[in-house]
């Protein structure tokens, strides 16, 4: 296809989870012939196994489509996929920066949800043209007029030209494509200016090195060209330029306004920052494009190999994952109980779970994950202030003047019948009521200030269960507030296990300590000796349980020469032991380190 800048449209799709974003993306691919029906596996854009299994999009993808529009001209459409979970709003903002427009997909039955709102605000911040798509209009429970009203009232978007669509059955797809062409502006940028291309994502390929996903803002990038990364100053020779259709296809060049990828045998992650600007090595641009704000992780946890010899493998794996996930942050740490590992920062709990699962699945590691925590700000009696991302680093109580913890502004949308129970939940979680507003006659938007630590503590599941799955949540960091916090330590067989320490509000410490030791008693298998489990605050023991010693473990009979069976039984038993962490003389299963999260309130 000939390059004509005015025939390029770069757009993304934003939606609340499950509103049909991936299905719509599939339909657009199908309609424009990027994939034949036969090639279509469900939801092509969700490439990672994990994404398919969980039905969510984690990594964004960029696909080029050819579209023969109603005006008789052929357009180049670049669709940049975005994740739909609150943890990944950072990645959403990266995709938005590479686009001029966004499809806002809203479920015709459910209406706007918390993330709809959050994503729209992000899109407006980036000055994107928004095309509203009311999806799933063929559902029996669809009520598009109500949903349009909600969008006008709450977001303030004009919905007179909203597309009525059903991605599932293909209704409205052509109209969406027409609106993309007619409403979204062609990219700006100067063709003759020195190259400036924004790296909006990257992934690591074992053969080609780092593949940088770029949006060319000015100039042209060609195969064989010498390029320079403005932020790092590193120079490379481009050895492949390509586009996704959706499989990677190499092309000669990417010109102003186009989206694609470049490979330049970049082996080191540090040389290729997402958010950096690629420029011409011989004729460099002087000013870089606005990059991204450095992402701040919301939660931290320790990651340790079960088998200490895997430490190096874990480090390599984290480094590789970081190539694909700029928001992953980690640094080495040591635990008395667990040995060498890493303290890792994540965007949220889902992000943490995904990283953990990928490490275990793709890199075949067996890991101990400690319970997640937020970053606390401690002011000592000597009036020094510092932040801690690990509860065991909290100084002795006597040295602390006060502790502050991060609060978020949380927006919860919920049918009015469940407002009472959701407010109750927020109260229990030390929430401070800010506002309540009717979205429609039957739905309410609640705003609360909540401690982030309470949100990561089983909040989302509780919210779902107390609203029968109807409530949606979005939140953003809103600063630090002073709280009455204490550290709860767990002693196993008389020794404090630093990796199990948590920071908790004083009023909840007793209850949580009690629940935690009960949970641990159920999880720690019986061993050759009795194991006391205690919870303490400072020197004060607040709860105690005991795991009784195993007294009998013997296979009485040796089945008529079936030694293989006996050996397999033993091997199975041994396999179970291997997944446990030996701490001192006690074997502790992986789940124990996360157990505090499932202690009911």
């Amino acid at each position: 296809m000939e390059w004509e800048k005015d025939k390029i449209r770069n757009f993304c799709i934003i939606a609340h989870i499950d509103h049909g974003k991936s299905t719509l993306a599939d339909r657009l691919l199908e309609y424009t012939g990027a994939l034949s029906g036969r090639e279509m596996t469900e939801q092509v854009l969700d490439q990672m196994d994990l994404e398919r299994e969980r039905g969510i999009t984690i990594k964004m993808q960029a696909v080029r489509l050819k579209y023969q529009a109603g005006d008789g001209r052929e357009y180049q459409l670049n669709l940049i996929d975005t994740p739909g979970h609150v943890d990944f709003s950072y990645e959403v903002s990266r995709s938005l920066a590479a686009c001029e427009g966004a499809l806002l997909v809203v479920d015709a039955a459910q209406g706007i949800e918390a993330q709809t709102l959050a994503n729209v605000y992000l899109a407006l911040e980036h000055n994107l043209e928004i095309i509203t798509v009311i999806n799933k209009i063929d559902l029996p429970s669809a009520d598009p007029d109500r949903v349009k009203q909600e969008i006008e009232d709450i977001i303030g978007l004009d919905t007179s030209e909203a597309v009525m669509a059903s991605a599932k059955s293909g209704i409205g797809v052509e109209e969406i494509l027409e609106q993309i062409v007619t409403k979204i502006p062609a990219p700006g940028g100067q063709e003759q200016a020195p190259l400036r291309a924004l790296i909006f994502d990257s992934h690591y390929d074992p053969y080609k090195g780092i593949i940088a996903y770029v949006r060319v803002v000015d100039g042209t990038v060609t195969n064989g060209m010498q390029v320079k990364m403005i932020a790092t100053g590193k120079e490379f020779e481009v050895n492949e330029v390509g586009i996704f259709r959706p499989s990677p296809t190499s092309v000669e060049e990417l010109r102003t306004g186009e989206v694609g990828y470049i490979a330049a045998s970049i082996k080191n992650v540090k040389d290729c920052h997402v958010g950096d600007t690629v420029t011409d090595g011989k004729r460099p641009a002087s000013v870089s494009l606005p990059g991204y704000r450095k992402v701040t992780p919301m939660v931290y946890c320790g990651l340790y190999p079960v088998d200490t010899v895997e430490y190096e493998n874990l480090r390599d794996a984290l480094e590789k994952l970081r190539l694909n996930d700029a928001s992953l942050i980690y640094e080495p740490e040591t635990s008395e109980a667990l040995g060498f590992g890493f303290r890792c920062g994540f965007l949220g709990l889902l992000h943490m779970e995904i990283i953990q699962e990928r490490l275990e699945r793709e890199y075949n590691l067996s890991l101990i994950t400690t319970a997640p925590n937020v970053v606390y700000r401690v002011t000592t009696t000597a009036n020094t202030v510092f932040e801690i991302d690990n509860p065991s680093k909290l100084p002795p109580i006597g040295n602390i003047d006060f502790i502050e913890e991060p609060f978020v502004k949380a927006i919860i949308m919920v049918p009015k019948d469940y407002v009472g129970s959701v407010m109750e939940l927020c109260q229990e979680r030390r929430g401070i009521f800010v506002n309540m507003e009717y979205i429609s006659i039957s739905r309410v938007m609640l705003t609360y200030d909540l401690p982030l630590s309470e949100i990561i503590y089983d909040f989302f599941d509780q919210l779902k269960s107390r609203s029968r799955g109807y409530a949606s949540l979005d939140y953003e960091l809103a600063g630090y507030k002073q709280s009455e916090l204490v550290r709860l330590d767990i002693m196993i067989a008389g020794e404090i296990l630093d990796a199990l320490s948590i920071i908790v509000h004083r009023d909840k410490a007793y209850h949580r300590g009690r629940g935690f030791v009960e949970k641990l008693r159920g999880l720690i298998p019986r061993q050759l000796f009795e194991i006391p489990i205690q919870a303490s605050i400072g020197a004060k023991i607040i709860a105690r349980e005991t795991v009784k010693a195993v007294r009998k473990d013997v296979l009485a009979k040796c089945y008529g020469g079936d030694i293989s069976r006996k050996r397999k039984l033993l091997e199975k038993q041994k396999e179970g032991k291997k997944r446990m962490k030996q701490v001192g003389s006690v074997e502790i299963p992986q789940e124990a380190f996360m157990a505090v999260l499932s202690v009911g309130d």
Binding site: L528, V550, G560, I563
Partner: protein, 378 residues
């Protein structure tokens, strides 16, 4: 080295509620078919094995209930074996008998076939428990069977007992032990009940109709067995086995010493020429494989030296005398103390094993925790 030969007879009058061995209800026609197939299998191995491999030091006919078969059938089996294999003069020939399946005449005939050891499945001497287990006999029939066996001339008798049954009290177990000792068998095997998945007994425990024996009580029963039987003049020589001097079970020692054995009949296991293999479990498949002229083997596993080493240790540790470290070194050319030095040190520290007179063995504390010890060698 001489071979241990096992013959599996897969028939019972009625299946016991805790049993997960291969067994079918006894039918004369099926038994005839089985016998014909078994004889083919004996012939097949008889022609396949080298002369040196056909020396039999112990023969064990188990089941199922071998005494479901007419004694004539058992006689045919032994004759067939004698013609294809060589039974050593001091060969131990054991048959499992279940009380209620054989009378005085039958026992006389059995003795005349050359069988010189009986293993009697008594299990318990409490009628209520026998009924719960689904046994076909009661305590009086068990006592009779032993008495008749003596009269028939058997001077080497084993009695199988099970403890740790739902609803079994320590007193009831003690009574069973005492009465068993009063019969003066040469050998007693006392097994803790294992609730095998899918058996009717296990199912009724899962459904909550019965309560499994609490671990502490089972442990007391084990200790009671050890002390009562010692007092009765029995030598505790394997985790679950007790014998009068010189009356240990030669056949089972073959397994515990990880030596060579051949198992014939459905679901029988063999260990031969560095391989372990198991026969087809189903009688029909077992038969049809043989009629096609094939060995009726369903699973085969090649045993690498490392595996053999580890198995030799955990099997040998079942014996109270332990693993003979010198014999181990002669067999493998390596020292177990070196191969497993850290494991052995840890276990010694935990008080679970000891090295005594060049033998590595379980301590008293280690006995009921034997699996924890074995794990270190797997």
């Amino acid at each position: 080295m001489a071979l241990g030969l096992y013959i599996h007879v897969p028939f019972c009058l009625k299946k016991c509620r805790y049993c997960d061995f291969t067994s079918y209800p006894y039918r004369r026609a099926a038994a005839k078919d089985y016998l014909a197939a078994l004889i083919r299998e004996i012939q097949l191995y008889g022609t396949f094995l080298d002369a040196g491999e056909k020396e039999i030091a112990s023969l064990f006919i188990g089941g199922g209930t071998p005494t479901c078969l007419p004694v004539g059938d058992l006689n045919k089996i032994i004759e067939c074996i004698s013609s294809f294999f060589r039974l050593t003069p001091e060969c131990e020939i054991t048959v499992e008998v279940n009380p209620g399946t054989i009378d005085a005449g039958g026992l006389y005939e059995l003795r005349r076939t050359g069988i010189n050891r009986l293993s009697v499945g008594v299990q318990s001497l409490a009628d209520g428990l026998l009924k719960m287990l689904g046994r076909v006999h009661n305590a009086a029939q068990a006592a009779d069977a032993i008495c008749l066996a003596r009269q028939a001339g058997f001077d080497n008798i084993n009695i199988d007992l099970i403890y740790g049954l739902p609803d079994q009290s320590l007193a009831v177990w003690q009574e069973t032990l005492d009465r068993t000792v009063s019969f003066e068998p040469e050998h007693i095997a006392a097994y803790g009940l294992q609730l095998e998945e899918g058996t009717p007994l296990e199912q009724s425990v899962v459904r909550g109709e019965m309560k499994a024996c609490p671990e502490e009580l089972e442990l007391s029963m084990y200790h009671t067995a050890i002390s009562s039987l010692k007092e009765g003049g029995y030598h505790h020589y394997e985790i679950s086995n007790f014998a009068r001097p010189g009356r240990t079970c030669k056949h089972n020692l073959v397994y515990w010493l990880n030596q060579t054995y051949l198992g014939l009949g459905p679901a029988a296991h063999s260990s031969l020429r560095g391989e372990r293999f198991a026969n087809e479990r189903e009688l029909e498949r077992y038969r049809s494989r043989l009629w096609q002229g094939e060995f009726p083997i369903a699973d085969r596993e090649t045993i690498a030296v490392e595996t053999e080493i580890s198995e030799t240790i955990f099997l040998g540790l079942r014996l109270l005398q332990g693993v003979d470290l010198a014999a181990f070194q002669r067999r493998f050319g390596r020292r177990a103390e070196d191969l497993y030095s850290s494991q052995i040190n840890k276990l010694i520290k935990d008080g679970l094993v000891e090295i005594e007179g060049r033998c590595l063995r379980l301590t008293e504390r280690g006995l009921p925790l034997a699996n924890r010890v074995f794990l270190e060698f797997v």
